[in-house]
């Protein structure tokens, strides 16, 4: 976690499930992403074509068959 701006990251609020009866047995959602480490990069032209210079971030759009028979 980025600790440069501690003022902007207050400590975790205590759980107050009492205020939310329907949430008694659930935790709030928390998102995690792994930290990226720069290892290798594409050449500039490859990067432009791939939309990223990081090989691990390539997410090509692939055309898939439309199952429902819908339009588009």
């Amino acid at each position: 976690m980025d600790n440069r701006y501690p003022g902007h990251y207050p400590g975790r609020m205590p759980h107050r499930f009492g205020d939310y009866p329907m949430m008694k047995s659930f935790e709030l959602a928390e998102a995690y992403i792994p930290y990226q480490w720069y290892t290798t990069s594409f050449s500039p032209m490859e990067a432009l074509m791939a939309g990223t210079m990081f090989p691990e971030l390539v997410r090509p759009y692939e055309k898939k068959e439309c199952k429902g028979g819908g339009v588009g």
Binding site: Y38, P44, M45, A47, F54
Partner: protein, 90 residues
Amino acid sequence: MNHAHTDNQRKELLDQIRAIQFMTVDLNLYLDTHPNDCRAMNEYNYYVRQLQSLKREYEMQYGPLMNFGHSLSPCPWRWIEEPWPWEEGI
């Protein structure tokens, strides 16, 4: 000189500028979240220098890449001389 030939050279240089500029964009975004990665920063600076010299080379030969005060123009006004983006395939 053959017109088609020089136009190909111009497009090749423009493609190079696009690719190098893309590297500066992606490294910039990476550095925003990894400000202490000196290797990435060296590469950023490397591409910035390369971009500056490619842009200078382009503008000397083919005219300004940007308007509104970013580039000087000889007379006559050179901004309107180049093909517009929709006049050529990317």
